[in-house]
C-alpha cells in the first residue's frame, strides 16, 4: 500500500454501532434475548422538552418560602369511604419483595413515611415488614395473584389493579430462579429456584365490563373503604383511561415507557409503549370528556426525576406522580461507590441493570443476604425522604413563580415546548409561537 496516498478515517456504521454489534454478538453467543431491569434507555421526548413561562406583568408570582403553596392530595374520594390523604403528590410506585430485598422495601416504607406519602407492594404480595414500615400502603392486585390474600387486601390503604406497566405494555413478567429463595418461593406458592412467570392478563376478567364487576367484588370484600386504583401502561392512554373510569376506578395510574421493571426483555422495554410525555394529555382529555377530571385522580409515572418533572406532569393535568427508578437511585442504586463491583459484573455505575440476576452490589435488587445487608434501611429511608422533599420544594418553587398557591393549580397555559414534537404531545405552544401542532394553525 502506497503510504503517500491519503487514507480516509475509518468510519463506524451508524446503523451497526458498537452497542448494536455487541448485542448481536451476545445474542449469537447465548441464544437468549437480553433481559434487564429498568425502563427505556433510549432518548425519548420528555419533560425536559417543556419549559415553564413563569410570571411577569400578566400574572404575578407568589413570594418564595413565604406565601403558601399547597402540596397535599386526596386520592380515591369518589367511591371509597377512606381515601388516601397524602402530604405530597409524589408516591412510591409498586415494586415487589422478591425483585427487591427486604431492606430495600423497608427503606421505601421509611422514606415514604417521613415524607408523608404512600408506597406500593408488587408481585408476590405484602410482607408483614412492608405493612409495618409503611403508614400508607397501596396493595397491588396483579394478574399472577402471587401471594394474593384477602387478609392483606383488608390491611391495605388502597388497592391498585395492575393492568399494564409502562416498561412492557401487554407483557407479563419473569422473576428468574436465582432470586427465588425460600421466603420468596413460599410467598408465591412455587418451588424454590425455578423461573416464576407472571401472567400478562388477569385470570378471571378479560375486558372493561368484567373489570367493572371485579372492582365491585373488591369493594364488597373491603366494605367500600379502600380507594381502587387501576394502573395502565402508556399504550392507548385516552381509551384506557376512559375505560378504567367507566369500570369504576377511583384513581388511574398511567405509566409511560420510561417506567422501570424488575426484569423484561430489552426489546420490549425499548420498543413497546409511548413516552410518558405523550400519555398525559390524552388521559386528562378522557377524564375531562367524562367530566371526571379531579374527581377520578390521575397519577403519572415513568421517568419522573425532579421537581420540574412533577410540576410539568401536574400542569398537564395529573393529580400526582409516582417514582420507582428514581426512588431506588435515592436509596443507593447504581452508586459510584460500588464502581469496582459493577465492573466485575461487566457494567459500570449508572448503567447497571442486571437486576434480574440478583447480584446487586448496592443490596437493593437482590435476595443475597450478604449483599442485602449492605443497605441500612434507616439511612436509605432518610435519603429517600430527603429526595422526596427536595422534589416537592422544587415543584413548589416553580408553582410560586407561576403564581400558583397549590401545585394542583398549575395548568397547561403555564408551559411552552422546545420542540415541535413535544408541543404536539403535550398540547402546549411551541416556544415563541402560539402554535400547538394538530390543534391550532401555524
Amino acid at each position: 500500500m502506497d503510504e503517500n496516498i491519503p487514507r480516509v478515517t475509518p468510519r463506524e456504521s451508524a446503523t451497526f454501532d458498537e452497542y448494536t454489534r455487541s448485542e448481536i454478538r451476545r445474542a449469537a453467543s447465548t441464544g437468549i434475548y437480553d433481559i434487564r431491569g429498568g425502563g427505556a434507555k433510549r432518548h425519548l421526548p420528555n419533560f425536559d422538552d417543556l419549559l415553564f413561562l413563569g410570571a411577569s406583568i400578566s400574572r404575578y408570582p407568589l413570594e418564595g418560602y413565604r406565601e403558601r403553596c399547597g402540596t397535599d392530595v386526596t386520592l380515591g374520594g369518589l367511591n371509597a369511604s377512606k381515601p388516601l390523604e397524602l402530604k405530597i403528590p409524589i408516591t412510591i410506585a409498586g415494586m415487589s419483595f422478591g425483585s427487591l430485598s427486604g431492606q430495600a422495601k423497608e427503606s421505601l416504607g421509611r422514606g415514604a413515611n417521613l415524607a408523608g406519602t404512600s408506597t406500593t407492594t408488587g408481585d408476590g404480595g405484602m410482607t408483614p415488614e412492608e405493612r409495618g414500615h409503611s403508614k400508607q400502603l397501596v396493595y397491588q392486585y396483579l394478574p399472577s395473584r402471587y401471594g394474593m390474600n384477602p387478609d392483606d387486601l383488608r390491611k391495605a390503604d388502597a388497592i391498585e389493579i395492575v393492568v399494564g406497566q409502562g416498561a412492557k405494555p401487554g407483557g407479563g413478567g419473569m422473576l428468574m430462579g436465582q432470586k427465588i429463595n425460600d421466603r420468596v418461593a413460599e410467598m408465591r406458592s412455587l418451588p424454590k429456584g425455578i423461573d416464576q412467570r407472571s401472567a400478562c392478563r388477569h385470570p378471571d376478567w378479560t375486558g372493561p365490563d368484567d373489570l367493572e364487576i371485579k372492582i365491585l367484588e373488591l369493594r364488597e370484600i373491603t366494605n367500600w373503604e379502600k380507594p381502587i386504583y387501576v394502573k395502565v401502561a402508556g399504550s392507548r392512554p385516552y381509551y384506557d383511561t376512559a375505560l378504567a373510569v367507566k369500570a369504576g376506578a377511583d384513581v388511574v395510574v398511567l405509566d409511560g415507557m420510561q417506567g422501570g421493571t424488575a426484569a423484561t426483555q430489552n426489546v420490549f422495554i425499548e420498543h413497546v409503549g409511548q413516552p410518558t410525555l405523550a400519555c398525559v394529555r390524552p388521559a386528562v382529555q378522557a377524564l375531562q370528556d367524562l367530566d371526571m377530571h379531579r374527581k377520578v385522580q390521575l397519577i403519572v409515572s415513568g421517568g419522573i426525576r425532579n421537581g420540574a418533572d412533577v410540576a410539568k406532569a401536574m400542569a398537564l393535568g395529573a393529580d400526582a406522580v409516582a417514582v420507582g427508578s428514581a426512588a431506588l437511585i435515592a436509596l443507593g442504586d447504581n452508586d459510584p461507590r460500588y464502581e469496582a463491583e459493577y465492573n466485575k459484573l461487566g457494567s459500570t455505575a449508572g448503567a447497571y441493570d442486571a437486576w434480574h440476576l440478583g447480584h446487586d452490589p448496592a443490596g437493593i435488587t437482590t435476595q443475597e443476604p450478604e449483599l442485602a445487608s449492605r443497605l441500612d434501611p434507616v439511612a436509605a429511608g432518610r435519603r429517600l425522604a430527603n429526595y422526596l422533599k427536595v422534589m416537592t420544594l422544587e415543584a413548589q418553587t416553580i408553582a410560586r413563580a407561576c403564581g400558583k398557591n397549590h401545585l394542583h393549580n398549575l395548568e397547561p397555559e403555564d408551559l411552552c415546548a422546545l420542540t415541535v414534537e413535544a408541543a404536539a404531545m403535550a398540547g402546549v405552544p411551541l416556544a415563541g409561537t402560539s402554535w400547538i401542532p394538530g390543534q391550532t394553525p401555524y
Binding site: M176, P203, D204, W205, L216
Partner: protein, 227 residues
Amino acid sequence: MNTMDFQEVGLREINRSLQAVESLTNNREWTIENPMGQHAIACGITAPLSVHIKGNVGFYCAGMNQQAEVIIDGHAGVGLAENMMSGVVRVKGNASQSAGATGHGGLLVIEGDASSRCGISMKGIDIVVGGSVGHMSAFMGQIGHMVVCGDAGEALGDSIYEAKLYVAGSVESLGADCTEKEMTAEHEQALADLLERSQINKSVQSFRRYGSARKLYNFDIDHADEY
C-alpha cells in the same frame, strides 16, 4: 337460620351481614333467596358459616372465601370462588369460566360442567368437577388438585407447575409442559379422598393423572418453541 332475600335487601346488605359474623358464632346458618344471577354474592366471608344460595349467581360468587361452606342451588358465572383460601364452595349446576381461579385452599365442587380456564393459576385449592372442563383448564396451576370426572378441553394444564390433575374421560390435548404421569397408590388414595369429600361417586380406577414435565422451569432457548 337467617334468610335474606336479594330482591329485598340487595348485595351490600347481604355481604355486610355475612362478613360481620364472628368466627366463633353459633349463628351459622344463612339462606339467600332470589340471587337473580347477581355478582359478588357471598364474597369475602371469613367465618365458618353455612350459606345456601337458592338460585343462579353471577361473577365472583364466594370470591376469596375463608372457612365458610357456600352451596349454590343453580349455576354460577365467571370466577366462582376465585382466590378462595379455605372452606367449601359447591355449585349444583354448571360454572362459567375461571372457576376457582388462583385459589389458595379449600374445596370447590362443581357438580355439573365447568367452562374454560377452570383452576387457572390455582395455588393450593382442590377442585372437583362432576362433568367436563373447557380449554386451558389448570393453566399455570401451581399447587392443589383438579379432578375432572368427565372430559377435558384442549391445552389442559398448559405451563403447569406442581398442581396435580386427574381426568376420567378424554383429554382433547395437553398444554405446554403438561404430561401424563404414573398413578401410584398414594395418588389413588388422594383422589379417593377428594371424591369422598366431594360426595361424588366415581371409581378411582377410571382416572388418569397429569402434571408437569418440569422442562420449562428454567428458561432454555432450545425449548423456545414450547412456550
